[in-house]
């Protein structure tokens, strides 16, 4: 019985390793092609490791294509989104968890209802609104319409409800204002959730594509995903340069993810089924 089980365990393990291999394969080729010369990327059959590794592709994307600037733009968008979403979602989440207001439940449901409205559906009027605000072709324009997150408000509200309210009420007795309670007691107790949520937002902002594609028109404003899409036009068929660009865009979120895996997964699992 136990021997039979271990055989099936091994079969499962082999299948899992095979699957993980397929999941990983694109990353492998992304990295090795980025170190190959144009001749080598066009070799048939493709090489599994570069025979004459070169840094030329990275020189191309960073010197000729300004990927340094695009990385900064991307980090700016992602970073600003983290700060704004953490700030505004936590505050609104606290209001819905602890503060009384007429029709509070209905207001909460109206906020949550945007989760039922995919942003692509309203992408054209969003663009026209931004145009009326004269924010087309600005990074602030990209950020402005991405700040509101119903998921974030929901996440923080659920978390605040799980905190012991007696702690906050003791502070009221001691004469603290709601503002002080929120910043001095509640937020310090929310470091884990802020870490998880902030990480999700950063990676979301780093990888945003359709929205900045529409909003940003001039080359110096591009974020990495946009610059990558444009590489296709400029370096058509130059797989080495394209893959070097892809590596630049892919590495920072992967490092963050590996460093803070638990935190990231907690954020997703929470939003997933509550």
């Amino acid at each position: 019985m136990s021997r039979k089980r271990s055989v099936s365990d091994i079969v499962v393990l082999i299948l899992l390793i095979f699957g993980a291999f397929i999941m990983f394969m694109p990353y492998w080729f992304m990295v090795i092609l980025s170190f190959e010369t144009p001749e080598e990327t066009a070799s048939v059959p493709p090489h599994l490791i570069p025979h004459n590794p070169t840094m030329e592709n990275y020189r191309k994307v960073f010197i000729d294509m300004n990927f340094g600037l695009y990385s900064l733009n991307t980090a700016f968008v992602a970073g600003a989104l983290v700060v704004a979403q953490v700030l505004f979602c936590s505050m609104a989440g606290y209001a819905f968890a602890r503060l009384a207001f007429p029709f509070r439940r209905i207001i909460f449901l109206i906020f949550l209802s945007v989760m039922m409205l995919p942003t692509v559906v309203i992408i054209i009027p969003r663009y026209l609104l931004l145009k009326n605000l004269h924010l087309i072709n600005t990074l602030s324009g990209v950020i402005l319409l991405e700040i509101f997150s119903a998921f974030g408000i929901f996440l923080y509200r659920q978390h605040f409800l799980s905190l012991p309210i007696e702690l906050e009420e003791a502070a009221v007795v001691d004469g603290a204002s709601v503002w002080q309670i929120f910043w001095k007691i509640v937020m310090p107790l929310s470091k884990n959730i802020t870490m998880s949520f902030g990480l999700l937002v950063f990676i979301y902002g780093w990888n945003l594509f359709l929205w900045p594609l529409i909003v940003l028109t001039s080359p110096e404003k591009r974020t990495l995903p946009i610059a990558l899409a444009m590489l296709q036009g400029r370096y058509f068929g130059d797989w080495g340069a394209m893959m070097a660009g892809a590596v630049v865009a892919a590495v920072p979120p992967i490092i963050l993810f590996i460093l803070a895996q638990k935190s990231f997964i907690r954020g997703i699992a929470f939003g997933g089924f509550k």
Binding site: R5, L13, L16, M23, P26, M30, A42, P45, P46, F88, C89, M91, A95, F96, R98, L99, A100, F101, P102, F111, V114, P118, T119, V120, V121, I122, I123, I124, P125, R126, L144, L145, F148, A150, I153, E168, E169, V172, V178, W179, I203, F209, I214, P225, L228, Q232, W239, M242, M243, G245, A246, A249, A250, P253, I254, F257, I268, A269, G272, F273
Partner: protein, 296 residues
Amino acid sequence: MRILGGISRKKHAMYFLLFTVASFVFSSLAYYIPFGYGIRLSLTSYDAISKPIFIGFDNFKELFQDPVFWVSTKNSFIYALYVVPTIVILSFLIATGLNKETRLIMFLRVLYFLPMVTSSIAVSLVWKWIFHRDYGILNRIMEFFHLPRQDWLGDPKLALLSVAIVGIWGGLSYNIILFLAGLQNIPKTYYEAAMIDGATKKDMLFYITVPLMSPITFFVLVTTTIWSVQVFDTVFIMTSGGPGYATYTLVYYIYRNGFFWFRMGYGMAIAWVLYGFLLILTIIQFALQRKWVYYE
């Protein structure tokens, strides 16, 4: 749920407004205003430069006779048919396999989760190379197994499937995490009790795991459906809707109308139809859930 005690009603209201005012502003800008504006926009002809012209329901009449709209609709749904069942089943199976805490499994998990954090544009470019008719690794593997080479992205019969493969590859991670979280919530005692009663591993899978996981499976089904019908990034990078209209999807067609041909009103009308499709799909799934979802 209890509100904070010891504070006057007035203070409550004041702080409530202070804490939510930014959310009111940003949600209006991002959702409510564009939503209202979008309704009006779909009834006009507008190129984003000259004045919009009110044309009533002409955009909607036009799209029902527009063959590209119907091709895009068909492609979006076929794509969803490729992607949704595959993702639901595979991510469930992979999650049950990864539901252990050994070092090797923890390492494998990282590999399975990577696509979720990687730019869809970066991975679409790599997959474009993998599928490349001449240099790509996939045709090399086909040759190795003595199978004919394919023009994965250039053949109208294969292009949508190829894009769907990337969608499946990229969509697994998120759902594996959801299933894993669900599996870890099933009390171990259920399995122990079943073992004492002489249940086999297969019995436990079908009589304990599957029913207890059905609410999460339902959630995964709904979210993956909504997500997959909106496919855009991979199409934009890998095929640009081609060859011909073989990989035109609804979102891609909205994008082309809005930001390529500057037919804002017409693009918006298509967007509303897309929204209608998504709502109908969701309603159908909710209606069917009573038949198979088990709530404790």
